[in-house]
Symmetry: C2
Subunit: 400 residues, 2 copies
DNA sequence: CTATTAAGTCAATTCGCTTGACTTAATTAG
DNA sequence: CTAATTAAGTCAAGCGAATTGACTTAATAG
């Protein structure tokens, strides 16, 4: 299915687009502000009371919002606040990592309703997909036992895995060549009957921070994710940015200097993969995370020497991100145990002077995001929810 | 003027927003495709023939489009193509450089209708503004002598100057502290009665490339601008991105390595300022550009040694941009004479391997943009035109 | 007790896109 | 040469979603 005509043009819109947008901004407003009355919504969205009333009535019938008790707040008729109904919608999130897969179901506001995990063959996607489909079936069943209408309210499946995608020869040890070349989206769509979207793990992490974490309601934020590799999830103008080919934010491949012996990718010196190497650990080892956590808490000298070096490189990376994106805040997230992430964060201070050093700042230049190992799966699940409910330009336009 | 209520929400929309969007996509479609019939437009925008007919009729009455001769192209009634009327709208562009200012008037399709330039005091904005207002008056007069309705069709004034803006202490020799702290937008708005928008010079350069240059119709492009300083103009999702505080893209301040003696800003080694220093030239010197052009054509060894070093650093910068933004193309622009820009471009090849090394590419990884010294002023002028006529999310929403 | 203020509804209106039938004007087939 | 076919474009009625302005409801201030 591709363009018949070579004419380049954006799609038009009509009242359906208008209506869709207005519904979405209501939902977003309730998500960002907790609970609002119709009058509040009318003021905030610049729509008339009447329009808001109609839309809210609609949303209530669809089971997406619910009225709370009326509140008296001065003169005039008391207002009736509305809030989102968490089980108004669900989505499934799937994280594919090197030797592990996680599946979660989240609701409209980001609560995890069910979860499952399993090992995964690094280089056999076809058998791996079977395992994944099994997990998805399991959590779907769990959800169905909790909510009768769950299937009807399932908006999609979001997949997160390490990027980059679509390269010539992703055949080095930092990547997952077999999985990156497998037609995963198609296989999962066929196997589940759901809409499937794919993004890289840092993007999922940023989405998670946006929906329930440190970037909640922030329009310009960059989420620096230190996992086996390193990448950044970009929230620009309130939306996730993924570039011309879906590979934006792969900062792990950024070279630390223009030339010479120091010209090595950031990933080779500051990722967890580099830490494993530094410590002589096997990444597939069981209880690796616990072990790292213990070492971090004990401030093991070999860990500390890696932290020093990595922090110096990551400090540079934060400077780079600030210089290039001018975000309101940078969020450091990691699949490492929290103790280690805190050591890193600490060692990154003081930050390098940059344009982010402004006279007044509402948000810190760098803050710690979640280190919950399930965050990426949650972010993956948040993507279809965002696609279905968040206001965005494309939601106004006709067709696809 | 700021929020009374602390409620965070996007603005709603209604039929006016719908209509505004549909008008804008028509104009964009005509800009990108040259001339299209109503039927073409209906297919391309997914609107009905009737809707398109009404909108085109409107635009024709507003003097923005005009019918061409009917063309027969097979069976069926011949179609009547429409094209944009260049003098349907005008905007003024202002470039403020260290010791120089340029003013242009451009029309709806980017033709320059009038131009003027003058010297500018580096550290006396208040007297400088008088000079600028004089130039603006002059070009405005010229335009009025060409088109009777010109004032009514003037959509705004775009200003471009070196960033970054709004910093704590922009008091180093790379910046223009006095101008960057002066309330320029207010002064110009008061002095001209026009809407005034401000952006940095790289952003203006990118806008120019987008409207009439190498980025025409490209949705993901980065324009690397090598001027007195260095910066990048970012076109993401078809729109200029300017970050949380309008300072996105200041890559000139990116550090060439995490730490140590090599940790110097890109700008210090690859900007024209660094070239002037390298050659012992005075940047305020008359006929500087001609002199540089001559040296470049002669492949002067001192110029070549700078080119070698700068190209090595810029090659790294392109790699960084590709890694972080995943754009469809990177455009190299410069205020240097074309011969020098070509030397730079040549010396930057071969490029570093990156994720931009894809099996199929429609556009080159790196291409030379314009080196017209007026390009930045043109880009500055293109901004208000884009704001008034290009489809964008914010144009659909109510109010400001 | 009355005036004032604010939330929210009702009913009519408006505005721009859609629908479906129709007109116009060309090419192709017989 | 004529009839069928195809495509561009118009006409007029319809529809859907927000708007408008008057009205109702329910609280507080004085």
């Amino acid at each position: 299915m591709h363009d018949i005509s070579p004419i380049r043009a954006k799609s038009g819109t009509n009242q359906e687009g208008t209506s869709a947008h207005n519904r979405r901004i209501m939902i977003e407003a309730l998500r960002l502000n907790g609970a609002l009355s119709r009058a509040d919504l009318a003021r905030a969205t610049q729509l008339t009371k009447q329009a808001v009333s109609n839309i809210i009535e609609d949303l209530e019938q669809d089971g997406l919002v619910v009225a709370l008790d009326a509140v008296r707040k001065g003169r005039g008729q008391p207002s009736t606040p509305y809030r989102l109904v968490p089980d108004g919608a669900f989505a499934i999130g799937l994280q594919i990592d090197r030797h592990l897969t996680r599946v979660v179901v989240v609701d409209l506001v980001g609560n995890v309703m069910a979860r499952a995990e399993a090992g995964l063959p690094f280089d056999e996607p076809s058998s791996g997909v079977e395992i994944i489909l099994g997990l998805i079936d399991r959590v779907r069943g769990e959800l169905a036992s909790l909510f009768a209408q769950s299937e009807r309210r399932l908006v999609g499946l979001g997949v997160a895995m390490p990027g980059p995608f679509g390269l010539k020869s992703p055949d080095n040890k930092w990547m997952m060549p077999a999985w990156q070349q497998f037609p995963l989206v198609e296989a999962l769509a066929a196997g589940t009957g759901l809409n499937v979207g794919l993004q890289n793990d840092a993007a999922a992490c940023a989405t998670a921070e946006r929906i329930v974490g440190a970037a909640h309601g922030v329009d310009h934020a960059v989420c620096l994710y230190v996992g086996y590799g390193i990448a950044a999830g970009l929230i620009l103008n309130g939306e996730l940015y993924s570039g011309g080919n879906g590979n934006a934010g792969e900062v792990g491949m950024a070279l630390l200097s223009p030339a010479g012996p120091g010209s090595t990718p950031l990933e080779h010196r500051a990722s967890l993969a580099s830490l494993y190497q530094h410590l002589g650990l096997d990444p597939t080892e069981r209880r690796l995370c616990e072990k790292l956590g213990t070492l971090a808490l004990a401030q093991d000298p070999r860990v500390m020497s890696w932290v020093e070096r990595a922090a110096s490189d990551l400090r540079w990376c934060v400077h780079l991100i600030e210089t290039i994106f001018d975000p309101q805040t940078v969020i450091l997230t990691s699949s490492a145990p929290e103790a280690l992430a805190r050591l890193l964060l600490q060692a990154m201070h003081p930050l390098l002077p940059s344009i982010a050093d402004r006279p007044v700042r509402r948000l810190p230049r760098l803050q710690l995001g979640t280190t919950d190992p399930w965050a990426i799966a949650v972010g993956a699940a948040a993507e279809p929810i965002s696609r279905a409910f968040d206001p965005r330009f494309s939601a106004i336009l006709k067709a696809g």
